[in-house]
Structures are given as structure tokens and as C-alpha cells.
Symmetry: C2
Subunit: 118 residues, 2 copies
DNA sequence: GCTGCAGATCGACCGCCATCGATCTATGTA
DNA sequence: TACATAGATCGATGGCGGTCGATCTGCAGC
């Protein structure tokens, strides 16, 4: 995995010893960091996190009409949050007649999971 | 774990069958969701995610003077991001003379990790 | 004391985001 | 065809967040 953060040379110190051990740098490249941060950002709202929680727990697809009454916000707001989650690739949807069913996109959280575990 | 999201009764349908299976609800309580969403939100920025990545990788404590030149933003901005991470309980700091050393707070990510794994 | 440095804080700017009411689209039903 | 419903979209609003330059706070050395 390439590191695209260039290291600036260690700045000179007036007189004293160096402040710390040799330079450290992230082994997470910028693009990867941006992808994972986008996932984390999408999960960074209590409503969206609970939406994902419900969808993950419920293996199948869940109707929006089941999701909306779970929260103390209006229907457009829930729709907005679902859209954010879909843009982040975390969930996907499927229309069946009058209703829309949402489900978690299987591999969406994988990269972030692996990083978070270590 | 208590669920403090009250379920509103299923709204009546004009004529047809119900849209889907019985009501689902999050088993993640609101307070827990807010805690984990706060952690996710703190990780929802590429710079902060890379900061955490460096600190986790480097088991010991890392001097701020090592962290600042890793990114293309100014020193106040890095300081701000470190403050956000500290407010979220993800990192902590320790001053030694002229320099400040940051390190990951061990159990900070635990609850979020456990939820994310399943 | 004075000077220099590391890092935190402040104030301002600007853009993004959560939320709402209103409206639009598409589907099903009479 | 007309109407009702599920859900998405629009426009507005208020607040939060990332970034910067400037400044402040401590610490070390002279």
C-alpha cells in the first residue's frame, strides 16, 4: 500500500535534542483514508447508525414504512438519511410496487471493519 | 439493553395487505447510538482517521511535531483535529516539557468495534 | 529579565448538513 | 379517469465544522 503523504524533512532544533523518536507516518494512503472516512461520516449520525443497525439485524429487506415511525423526525428526513447511506454505498434499495425496501450492501463496511479491528 | 424508541402503531392501510413483515426496531438504544455515532463522526474526516491510524500503529506516544508535517494543513488545524479526537475520547495527550505527546485511549473504540463486527 | 520555540486558543469565514413544510412522481384502487 | 398513498425531491433555514492567520500560554536557555 503506497503512502502518498510526503514527509517534510525534520525541522532543525535550536540547540536541544530531538523531541521524539524517528518519523512516523500513516500506512493508510490518502484515498483509502478518504473512503473510510466517508463511511465513518455516514455512520456519524445517531439516526443513520440505528437505521443501519435495524437493516443489519434484519437479514432481509425492510420497508421504509417500517423505518419511518421508529424515529422522532419527519418522513423527508428519514428519506434523506437513507439517501446519505446509499450514497456512501452502505445500503441499497429496491422498489416493489408502492413500497421501497432497503437492505445493507454486504461488502460496504468491510474495508472500514478491517481497519478498525487493526 | 432497553429500547427507548417507542413504536407508533402501524398506520391503517386503505384496503390492501400490509406492506411487509412485522415491525422491526433497533436493539441499539438511543444513548448507545449517540455514543457510537459520536465516535464515528470523529473518525469521519480523512485527517483524523489518519491521525488515529498513526497513533494506533505507533504503540507508544507520538509527538505533535511528528504529526503536523504529515498533512497539508496548518498547525492550528492539526491541533483542532486532535482536540476533536480527544473530546470523543479516542485519544489522550501528555505534555513533556516543550512537547506534547498523543496516544490512543485503549478502550475508546471498543463499543463501536463490537457493534460494527456484528 | 529577555528571546525563541511548541502547541493551544481565538475570531472569522465559508461551506456543508440536519431538519422542516410543501410539492412532485409513481403506483395501486375504485 | 379520478383519487389516495408511499416515498423522493425541492427550497429554505439554522447550526455545526474545517480551515486559516493571529495571538496567547508555557517551557527552556541565555
Amino acid at each position: 500500500m503506497a503512502v502518498d503523504l510526503q514527509l517534510s524533512p525534520k525541522q532543525k532544533r535550536g540547540a536541544g535534542e530531538p523531541c521524539c523518536e524517528p518519523v512516523v507516518y500513516p500506512d493508510v494512503a490518502r484515498q483509502q483514508a478518504e473512503r473510510m472516512a466517508a463511511v465513518a461520516k455516514a455512520l456519524g449520525d445517531p439516526i443513520r447508525l440505528q437505521l443501519v443497525d435495524v437493516l443489519r439485524k434484519h437479514a432481509g429487506k425492510v420497508c421504509v414504512c417500517e423505518l419511518t415511525p421508529l424515529f422522532d423526525v419527519g418522513q423527508p428526513t428519514v428519506s434523506h438519511h437513507l439517501k446519505v447511506l446509499r450514497r456512501a454505498g452502505i445500503v441499497d434499495s429496491e422498489r416493489q410496487g408502492l413500497w421501497a425496501y432497503y437492505y445493507v450492501h454486504p461488502d460496504a463496511l468491510e474495508e472500514f471493519q478491517h481497519w478498525l479491528i487493526r
